[in-house]
């Protein structure tokens, strides 16, 4: 294996042009060749773990020296165990079916012309992301699997880690039938390089921003390149009139507390008034036990008076109008009592972000109505909102969760990185 040589200094445009050339070569590779490159990447991530971890230590030292908060350090850290997880993920994606060439529809016209619509790679995929360096590997692996060239722009805080990961993956790919330029970092650490990337319409086929609301909104507003938006999740759990209480409690606690910092965590609980007297006291007690602050409406505040407080602290604070729209990403939840399923649907239509909504109900017709009425990427019946996740849903890993409606909606895996091509085969048809 070649030693890791730094990529020659390039402009962002030159990197994109190299990616375009690589994309044309990638489009002609077989699935076996791409899977073989993925297994080479998996092997290299293991074999060269020490240099990746050393690079990560440099980033961590820099971040500590800069006085970054612990949450940032947590996101930045790459452990042995996480690296092993990335290796496993890469092998898992290699073992998945090839999306490229899949026939999505086909027929023979009355005149004998054969029509097929097949999946093909998008071409050049630009990824702009913050925080976790695992996105570098997730994005590269999904791009290689789907025959796309990846242009990766992580946060400058992770610059050494990302550079090491990209060098390791490039070297691994270079030993296979694929071009090393299938995976490239975007040159330059400054915002100017991001601005330049966003302008390369025609060279870059799609940009996927993954990170905070500001990053996403800036990209959507400023990019000339088409953008797939990964969005904010103000996810609701609605506990319906006819509900198994234990089930509702365990779904609520999982959705809110299992990992509050992610977009598929629950942010609002809606409770049907018929079950509120029985359910609310138990729910409030459980939420308090898990350290969750409840922002409740008047009826929730009333119910809270019956709940014993652990340390004399209020279990519930009064919800403001803003609480119904907040994505806390923390140990907070807004809670309201609603007088019907339709009121719950209305509330979610007004305040939801089209990410993931859950209903807990024993009523088949209530479930059906909830699923049909809500315009959202994911709707869950009697299951946690946390299943809105590419890994959970069998996509191998994910590039993010799209809350837009065009092209891809919900957890995005390799399919979101493909487009289609109509192939018409005839024997001289003109009519």
């Amino acid at each position: 294996m070649s030693t890791s040589t730094p990529v020659a200094a390039k402009t962002v445009r030159e990197a994109a042009e190299a990616a375009r050339v690589a994309a044309a070569r990638l489009a002609a590779t077989t699935g076996a060749e791409r899977d073989s490159a993925l297994r080479a990447i998996a092997g290299a991530l293991t074999d060269r773990a020490p240099e990746i971890l050393a690079a990560n230590k440099r980033d961590m030292d820099d971040a500590r020296a800069a006085g970054r908060p612990q949450a940032v350090l947590d996101r930045l850290a790459v452990s042995d165990c996480q690296l092993a997880g990335l290796t496993d993920m890469t092998r898992g994606v290699a073992a998945m079916a090839d999306p490229v060439g899949t026939v999505t529809s086909g027929s023979v016209l009355p005149n004998g012309l054969e029509v097929r619509q097949i999946r093909v790679p998008l071409g050049v995929v630009g990824m702009i992301y913050e925080g976790r360096p695992n996105v570098t590997v997730d994005a590269a692996v999904l791009c290689v699997k789907s025959g796309n060239a990846a242009l990766l722009r992580g946060s400058s805080a992770a610059r050494h880690t990302n550079a090491a990961l990209i060098a390791v993956m490039r070297d691994a790919v270079a030993e296979t039938a694929l071009p090393a330029d299938a995976i490239q970092g975007v040159p330059g650490d400054t915002h100017a390089s991001v601005t330049e990337l966003m302008a390369l319409r025609g060279l870059v086929d799609v940009l996927i921003p993954r990170g905070g609301r500001e990053l996403i909104e800036t990209t959507v507003r400023e990019a000339a390149v088409p953008v797939i938006e990964t969005g904010v999740g103000n996810c609701h759990v609605y506990v319906d009139e006819h509900t198994d209480m234990e089930r509702a409690l365990s779904i609520l606690i999982n959705a809110k507390t299992q990992r509050p910092s992610v977009c598929n965590a629950a942010e609002t609980l809606l409770v049907h008034e018929a079950v509120a007297p029985a359910f609310l006291p138990r729910a409030l007690a459980e939420l308090a036990r898990h350290g969750v602050t409840v922002h409740g409406d008047a009826r929730v505040l009333a119910a809270a008076s019956a709940v014993p407080s652990a340390a004399g602290e209020p279990v519930v604070v009064a919800a403001t109008e803003e609480d119904w729209d907040r994505e806390y990403l923390a140990a907070d939840i807004a809670v309201a009592v609603v007088d019907s399923l339709d009121s719950a649907v209305e509330h979610i239509r007004r305040h939801g972000t089209g990410h993931t909504e859950a209903i807990v109900t024993e009523s088949q017709s209530a479930a059906r109505r909830f699923v049909l009425a809500l315009d959202t990427a994911v709707v869950a019946v009697n299951a946690s909102t946390r299943f809105a996740d590419g890994g959970e849903l069998g996509l191998g890993t994910e590039l993010g969760i799209s809350t837009q409606k065009l092209h891809a909606r919900g957890p995005m895996g390799v399919i979101a990185l493909t487009t289609t091509k109509y192939v018409l085969v005839g024997d001289g048809q003109i009519r």
Copy 2:
């Protein structure tokens, strides 16, 4: 049936808000209800033909008075026969399978959670178009079929025709289970109303511009609402080394001359040098016979000297560098001799617009290489480029041909007007 009452004066935003309300109702309709509304529209287009034709006469009179060119008048005219065609199209779309609710993928996770991805309407579809009033009916019909509310903005030259068509369709829909606001014209005749429409992100789910390059580029550049781009077609016909000459000739003449003004007409002919001596003289003579001006490279000019000229006019003029990039939409074609299939691919990669490319060949491996190598919406083997058409490909009718890669590529029918929703059904799953 109610008489045609003009829509009460509204702002563009009010119309979009009414469309949003209609979209929520449409999402809950059944396919049978939507097909019944389509049959009501088909009936009304026949029953109320006189008032539609009278409105069209007003537009035609206005256009003649304004001294519009004949090509504009041709596009503006609606005949009895065209109206009958729209009625037939509407009935045909009503008879097609319902795209809404189609399960596009599904599985059961190891923990028993059922996962389905289903097609759902986009919501509110805005259409901005020029010229032909038939687009008013095409767009409304495809929107109703797919459960979307349509906001239609045709050209001001067709204002009376479009208003009559929309009034007739709204009245028909109002007599069914669907809300009349499923179909609305965008209020206002000025460009300000288009600008307002383009800003309504969150109210309008997608904008589809259909018309000239300027309209499309303006919409892509200025709209805050997501746009599906319908694009320019610089379509190539490549005549390969091993080719049935008769077949190549008939495909060339059909692709170029059957309807030169449309985006799937051929604009460039590439001929492999091995067949150029035999093929070019016949091709040039046939093109001349059909009144097509050839813009040829040096080798084509040389071949032309052997072709008898009809009226002493030159059969071939020298191609400029710009000719390889032109979408003539007229009786002109650029012609070049290439030394290999790879050269043809390179030429198309450089000059093509990703619309439709055709190869005429008897070689299986040449066909395979051409299909794989070109990054284009449609690729045709031994068939005319003119088959890149929603009607031809069985979509009922089309909203336009997308040359972008995200969401929809190639001829767009009802599927392009849908998005998907993940539906997860469990019995309390949290892990």
